[in-house]
Symmetry: C2
């Protein structure tokens, strides 16, 4: 994903990706890696090999592109979540552990740059920013799903534990930007299990 795509005039060939797809793919990488404010529209244009006019034909503003970026990240996040959880459909505890282990693995990757949704909430002070709406929805959904899993485990107060679990996971994600503990996976799973008692 380092190379600069080469522009091509005219409508896209059937085999080619549309301008929208190329823009979104580039924004998905750059907005995450370099930050949203740091990444200018011109950079997205240059790196995606799409003309600026095309970008503004597809997205009415940078904010709209940011919202699309957030939505795309949201989509792929739940896709990952579902794939992971479904491998343990019959065992909620194993599903939870798999989610936590998977999260730890993501955080440990060298290109890890934090949780895109928390990053959006940090980068934009306005709580009504289109990107932040997606971010908030994502976090609420995560809490809800955790409550489902936790309820299946028969803990006393699933809502509270889910809230605590969400805090822990968000904490792991954000702490991972600053410094990743050597045995993050074990620490994270262990902490989560203690929250279940």
């Amino acid at each position: 994903m380092e190379e600069v795509a080469t522009p091509r005039r005219g409508a896209p060939r059937k085999t080619d990706a549309s301008a929208r797809e190329r823009i979104l793919a580039t924004a998905n990488e750059l907005f995450y890696r370099e930050g949203v404010h740091t990444t200018g529209v011109d950079t997205v244009v240059e790196r995606s090999g799409v003309s600026k006019t095309s970008l503004y034909r597809v997205f009415r503003s940078k904010d709209e592109l940011i919202a699309a970026f957030a939505t795309e990240r949201d989509r792929s996040f739940w896709s990952w979540w579902d794939r992971t959880a479904k491998r343990h459909a019959d065992d909620p505890r194993a599903a939870l552990e798999a989610l936590l282990s998977g999260l730890a693995k993501l955080i440990g990757r060298p290109d890890y740059r934090g949780c895109p949704f928390l990053n959006l909430a940090t980068e934009f002070p306005d709580p009504d920013h289109p990107g932040r709406l997606v971010a908030r929805a994502n976090k609420e959904e995560m809490r809800t799903r955790l409550a489902d899993i936790v309820a299946q485990l028969g803990v006393a107060d699933p809502e509270r534990v889910a809230s605590q679990m969400a805090m822990l996971m968000n904490g792991a994600m954000v702490t991972g930007i600053v410094a990743v503990p050597a045995d993050l996976k074990d620490e994270l799973v262990d902490a989560a299990m203690k929250l279940l008692t």
Copy 2:
């Protein structure tokens, strides 16, 4: 802190705050509330009632001002921490609870905008940015202090628990940007106590 300070020519009266102090006070508020990237140098200049020339006489660049902002936040954070912990010098468990309660209280405030250090880590992709160095040091120091407290409580693996506790606290701070649970304080203290077992 909403009013715009009025500029005054010449050297400051003995009673007046220096240009440096006024700049830092303004940056301390604006960088936190509106974000660092969103806040331009011109805005800091205007709001502090200091001339732009003065700002660049005191700070060589915006990055240096950001570093000073971070250092100031770090200073006041540990001041708060020490004041809180010292009220329970003889009781580490009570000290920990007080810190967590205090944190929850901070997070619940309407002007809360997240942890300034985590925000810096998010806003600046470069891990060697002067502001991020302060941020990283702050988080390492927090983990160390938590390890001290936790060790006094006689838990089995204080280093691990401290790391988990730091994750939890960072998680509370960052989750607080998105949505603050109604009974955050109880949830936080309860979660921390469960981590101690």
